[in-house]
C-alpha cells in the first residue's frame, strides 16, 4: 500500500467541511446537496401533480407550469441523480479498492462546488423577471433560442447546467484515475467489486459524453447572445443530435452506480458471493458501450435521423441487460436471504426497473415509438427506470451503508414503512401514466380532456404517497442519528473491504488491510476463520 503522510491537524468546524479534500466529506456534502435539490425538484413535481388533478388551470398559470416541469426535470437529472451517482462513488471507491484517498482529491472538491454553484444559479432563475427556464430539461431548439424564450432565466439555466455538468466531468476524471492507479496490492482489475465495475463504466460514459454537452450548451448560449449557430438548415436537428449524445449516456450514469449498489446489497443479504461475476463485468462494459450508440432513439419521430441503426443498437441492449439481471437474480438463488430494508429495496429495484426496461424495449421500436413518444407512456417508462430503478437501488444502498458512514444503524421498522409507501406510491403514480399515454395524453401539458381525469387523480394521489415515504425516510435518518444504536465495523456481513475498517472509517480509511484474493475479500476472510 502506498503510504501517505498527513501534514497538519485537520481544520475543524464548517471550514473543515466546506474546503475539505477528504473524499468522504466531499461525498457527504454532495449527498446532502443532492438531497436538497431532490426535495426542491420533488416539490415542483407535487405542484405539477396538484395542478394535474383536474383538467383546466386551478393552481398555477401556464407559464409557471412550464417553469415547474422544466425545473423538475432539470433538477432531477442535472442536480440530483447524477451528482448522487457520483457521490456514492466518491465515498465508496477508495474504500472498495483499499485506497487511503482519491487520486487528485482537489478535483472532487472542485467538482462539488461547480455543481452546487450551477444548481443555485439554475434555481435563481425563479427570482428573475420572465421567470426561470421554461424550455424543458433538454431545451429543444428553436424553442430555447432568444426569440422564443426570452429572459435571463433561460440563460442562467444554460450556465447552471454547464457548471453542474462540468463539475460532474471533473469528478469522473478523479474517480477514473483512482480506480486505475490507487488499488491496494492484490486488488487486480479482475478482483474489483461489482460496484467498482459499475462506477468504472459510469465515469467512462461521463468522460466521453459530458464534454459534448458542455460544447452544446456553450453553443446554445452563443446562439442566444449572437445568433448564427443552430438557426440555419439542419441546425435544430444538429442541436438535438449533440444534446442527446450526452442525454442518453447520462441516464446510464444515473443508473449504473445504483445497479452496482443493488449488486452489493443482494450479495451481502443473500450471504453469497455475487454470481456470474465474469458475465456481469463483460456485460456491463457492453451495456455501457451500447448506451453510447443509441442516442438518436430520442428522435425517432423527427423523421430526420436514421431510425434503423439506432433502433438496432437500442434493442441490442436487451442482451447485456438480461445478463445483468441473470447475475443479480442468481445471486439470490442458493443464498440464505435476510429481508432487511436494504434487501427489500433491492428486490423492489429488480421488479420495478424491469417495467422501466421492458417499456424501453417497446419504445426502441420506431413504429411503436411514433405513437408512444412524447406521451405519458414515455413519462411512465423513464420514471419506472429512474424512480423504480435508480432511486430504489439508492435506498437499498442507503440502508446498507448508512451504518458504515455514520456508525449507527437505521431503524428497520421505519425502513419497512418507507419501503412499502414507496412501492405503493410509485405504482399508483406511474402505472396510470402508461394508460394515459397510450390513450393520447401528451407530455408537458398543463391541462387535458375530461376523460383523462380519473387516472390523473390516481397519479396525483400516488405522488402524495411517495412524498409521505420520503418524509418517513428523513424521519428515520433524524431519529436514528439521535438514538445512536452503534453499528460496529460489520453489522451485515458484507463482502467488500469497507467492512474491515471502523464505522465511520478513519481519515485514511484503513489502519490495516486483509489479504485480497478475490472480489469478495471479507467473505474469504470469514470463511478461513476456524
Amino acid at each position: 500500500m502506498t503510504t501517505v503522510a498527513l501534514e497538519r491537524p485537520r481544520p475543524t468546524g464548517l471550514v473543515g467541511w466546506l474546503a475539505s479534500t477528504d473524499h468522504k466529506r466531499v461525498a457527504l456534502l454532495q449527498l446532502g446537496a443532492s438531497l436538497v435539490f431532490f426535495v426542491a425538484s420533488g416539490l415542483a413535481a407535487m405542484l405539477m401533480r396538484s395542478e394535474l388533478a383536474e383538467p383546466g388551470m386551478q393552481i398555477v398559470s401556464r407559464q409557471s407550469y412550464d417553469e415547474l416541469f422544466t425545473i423538475h426535470g432539470s433538477g432531477m437529472v442535472y442536480l440530483t441523480i447524477t451528482p448522487l451517482a457520483l457521490a456514492v462513488g466518491l465515498y465508496l471507491i477508495p474504500l472498495h479498492i483499499g485506497a487511503a484517498e482519491l487520486a487528485w482529491p482537489r478535483l472532487a472538491l472542485l467538482g462539488f462546488w461547480l455543481y452546487v454553484a450551477g444548481g443555485v444559479i439554475m434555481f435563481l432563475g425563479f427570482a428573475i423577471d420572465h421567470g426561470a427556464a421554461k424550455a424543458g430539461w433538454f431545451a429543444t431548439y428553436p424553442l430555447s433560442n432568444a426569440a422564443n424564450t426570452s429572459g435571463k432565466g433561460q440563460d442562467m439555466w444554460i450556465c447552471g447546467v454547464f457548471l453542474a455538468v462540468l463539475g460532474n466531468t471533473i469528478q469522473s476524471g478523479s474517480l477514473l484515475a483512482t480506480i486505475v492507479r490507487k488499488r491496494a496490492p492484490g486488488m487486480t482489475m479482475a478482483r474489483l467489486s461489482p460496484f467498482t465495475w459499475s462506477m468504472l463504466v459510469t465515469v467512462l460514459l461521463a468522460l466521453t459524453s459530458f464534454p459534448v454537452l458542455l460544447g452544446t450548451m456553450a453553443a446554445l448560449e452563443w446562439d442566444r447572445l449572437q445568433g448564427g449557430v443552430f438557426d440555419g438548415h439542419y441546425g435544430p436537428v444538429a442541436y438535438q443530435l449533440l444534446f442527446w449524445f450526452y442525454g442518453h449516456p447520462v441516464v446510464y450514469v444515473m443508473f449504473f452506480p445504483f445497479v452496482g449498489m443493488a449488486a452489493e446489497v443482494i450479495s451481502a443479504f443473500s450471504g453469497r458471493r455475487f454470481f456470474a461475476y465474469k458475465g456481469f463485468t463483460f456485460s456491463i462494459l457492453l451495456f455501457a458501450a451500447l448506451s453510447m450508440s443509441v442516442w438518436a432513439h430520442h428522435m425517432f419521430a423527427t423523421g430526420r435521423v436514421n431510425n434503423e441503426y439506432f433502433s438496432l443498437t437500442s434493442t441490442m441492449l436487451i442482451v447485456p441487460a438480461g445478463l445483468e439481471y441473470f447475475a443479480l437474480i442468481w445471486t439470490m438463488v442458493g443464498g440464505a436471504i435476510v429481508f432487511s430494508t436494504a434487501m427489500l429495496f433491492a428486490i423492489g429495484f429488480l421488479l420495478l426497473f424491469l417495467i422501466g426496461g421492458l417499456t424501453g424495449v417497446i419504445v426502441a421500436s420506431p413504429p411503436l415509438d411514433y405513437h408512444l413518444t412524447d406521451s405519458y407512456f414515455y413519462v411512465a417508462h423513464f420514471h419506472y427506470a429512474l424512480f423504480g430503478g435508480s432511486l430504489f437501488a439508492f435506498f437499498a444502498g442507503a440502508y446498507y451503508w448508512f451504518p458504515k458512514v455514520t456508525g449507527v444503524l437505521l431503524r428497520e421498522s421505519l425502513g419497512k414503512l418507507h419501503f412499502w409507501l414507496m412501492v405503493i406510491g410509485a405504482n399508483l403514480t406511474f402505472f396510470p401514466m402508461l394508460v394515459l399515454g397510450f390513450e393520447g395524453m401528451p407530455r408537458r401539458v398543463a391541462t387535458y380532456p375530461e376523460r383523462f381525469t380519473t387516472l390523473n387523480v390516481v397519479a396525483t394521489a400516488g405522488g402524495f404517497v411517495i412524498a409521505l415515504g420520503v418524509l418517513v425516510f428523513l424521519a428515520n435518518v433524524w431519529w436514528s442519528l439521535r438514538r445512536r444504536v452503534p453499528a460496529g465495523n460489520d453489522p451485515f456481513g458484507g463482502p467488500t473491504l469497507e467492512w474491515w475498517t471502523t464505522s465511520p472509517p478513519p481519515r485514511l480509511n484503513f489502519d490495516s488491510l486483509p489479504p485480497i484474493r478475490s472480489f469478495a475479500p471479507l467473505f474469504d476472510v470469514r470463511e478461513n476463520r476456524p
Binding site: 503522510a5 498527513l6 482537489r106 472538491l109 438518436a296
Partner: protein, 114 residues
C-alpha cells in the same frame, strides 16, 4: 497491477465497432464523429495510463484546499457573467485567477514536503 488499462481498451474497441456498424446505415458525420470521438478519447485514456510512470512510494494527502473553492466560485461567477456582462464576469475571472494562483502555491508546498 498489470493490464489496468485493458477494460479501457476493450471499451474503446466496442465503441469503435459500433461506429463502424453505423456505416452500414448512414455516413452522417454527426453520428460517427461523436461516437468515433468517444472511442478515440477512451483509447487515449488507455494510452495515458499505459505510459504513466508508477506512483511514488510516499504521497501527500491534503486535508483542505481553499484555493480549489476559489477556483470553483470564480469559474461559476465568470460563466454566469457571460449573459449578464463584464460587471459580473470580470470579477469572476479575477477570483478564478487568484484561486489558480493559490492552487499553484498549494501544489508547490506539497511537492517540497514529499
Amino acid at each position: 497491477m498489470q493490464r489496468r488499462w485493458t477494460p479501457l481498451l476493450v471499451w474503446a474497441g466496442l465503441l469503435a465497432g459500433l461506429t463502424c456498424l453505423q456505416f452500414v446505415f448512414s455516413t452522417n458525420p454527426y453520428y460517427w464523429a461523436t461516437l468515433g470521438g468517444a472511442a478515440l478519447v477512451t483509447a487515449l485514456l488507455a494510452g495515458y495510463y499505459l505510459w504513466r510512470p508508477p506512483l511514488r512510494a510516499e504521497e501527500y494527502v491534503p486535508d483542505s484546499s481553499y484555493a480549489t473553492v476559489a477556483v470553483a466560485v470564480g469559474a461559476a461567477v465568470a460563466v454566469v457573467g457571460v449573459p449578464f456582462g463584464p460587471w459580473l464576469y470580470l470579477p469572476g475571472l479575477g477570483l478564478l485567477v487568484v484561486g489558480l494562483g493559490g492552487l499553484v502555491h498549494e501544489l508547490r508546498v506539497e511537492r517540497r514536503r514529499v
